[in-house]
Amino acid sequence: MNRISAFFTFLATVLMIFLLPSARAQTQAELIARGRYIATAIQGCGCHTREKPDGSKDENWHYAGSPNPAPPFGPPANAGWSSPRWKKIYARNITPDSATGIGKWTEADFIRAMRTGITPDGRVLDTQMPWNAFQKITDRDLKSLWAYLKTIKPVRNTPPRNIPADRK
């Protein structure tokens, strides 16, 4: 009797594992593939790649943030955005370069920044980087994006400092 119920418990467990793919542990390769799909099909993170004069993205600087010095005018990925807090706010380097990008961040750092806007060095990101919308990205998708970001080419570039808005 006990053996039979043990058998059915086992059977049910096996079935659950096959029926619920999300219950399966994700391999690193699966995470990277999922992250790549997000970054190359849905959320291109295009703000972080500067544009060439013809308006196309400059792939030599993929995800490396605004040029420094930034031009005074032009597309925001090059010349910066503005927000109530900042007269000019520049996209940061999100490549895995350890000196100028996010190479020293951990997965936990990345998830915290994406959910709360707080970076490992204690800055609070402006919502121009829409962490308030990204808060509800699922754990699995954030982990996937992080796994993918670790695989891209590190590019050395420190974008300009942001310029605070004029006090009124």
Binding site: A41, Q43, G46, G55, K57, P76, S82, P84, P130
Partner: protein
């Protein structure tokens, strides 16, 4: 003898699972890698969170935050001709004097996507060519990226957008590159 109720119970459970699967596939099958349980939920997730369409397609209020009473209705018509300001006001500058304005994604029939069919919407994402035939080689809407999106994801976005409140707003006309 006492095994029978257990076996029957197990068989019953299995057939229930089978029935549930059959019921599911008789409706519309959801891609296995979705964490969401319907097209609308997936669309909401893609539009409002992962894709963040809001960032360009919703105008800003006085406080500089998105004006949710004009959710996803594009650059307000009144800003036509504005030379300076954030992209939600002055559009995105493009090459050779071009300027691109975020469009109205609400189901308003005259000024939004109200007359677009699901197939037209999917085609636009596949090819970057709008139903009216316009195609930009370069635009802030990164069609080369969205072309990689799975059909089911584009469909989910379309279906979610259909549930929005229609808002009448005709964004300023784009200025193509010279």
């Amino acid at each position: 003898m006492r095994r029978w109720p257990l076996l029957l119970g197990a068989l019953g459970a299995l057939s229930l699972i089978g029935a549930a699967c059959a019921l599911n596939s008789s409706q519309e099958k959801l891609p296995a890698d979705w964490e969401q349980t319907s097209y609308l939920e997936r669309g909401d997730y893609l539009v409002n969170h992962l894709g963040h369409c809001d960032g360009c397609h919703t105008p800003l209020g006085r406080d500089g935050q998105p004006d949710m009473s004009h959710f996803l209705s594009g650059v307000p018509a009144k800003f036509a001709g504005a030379k300076a300001g954030p992209p939600q006001v002055a559009g995105f500058p493009g090459p050779r004097g071009a300027r691109f304005y975020a469009k109205n994604l609400t189901p308003d029939p005259e000024t939004g996507l109200g007359r677009w069919s699901e197939e037209q919407f999917i085609q636009t994402f596949r090819t970057g060519v709008r139903p009216d035939g316009v195609k930009y080689a370069i635009s802030p809407m990164e069609w080369n990226i969205y072309a990689n999106m799975k059909k089911e994801d584009v469909r989910a976005i379309y279906r979610y957008l259909r549930t929005l409140k229609p808002i009448a707003n005709k964004p300023p006309e784009d200025i193509p590159p010279k």
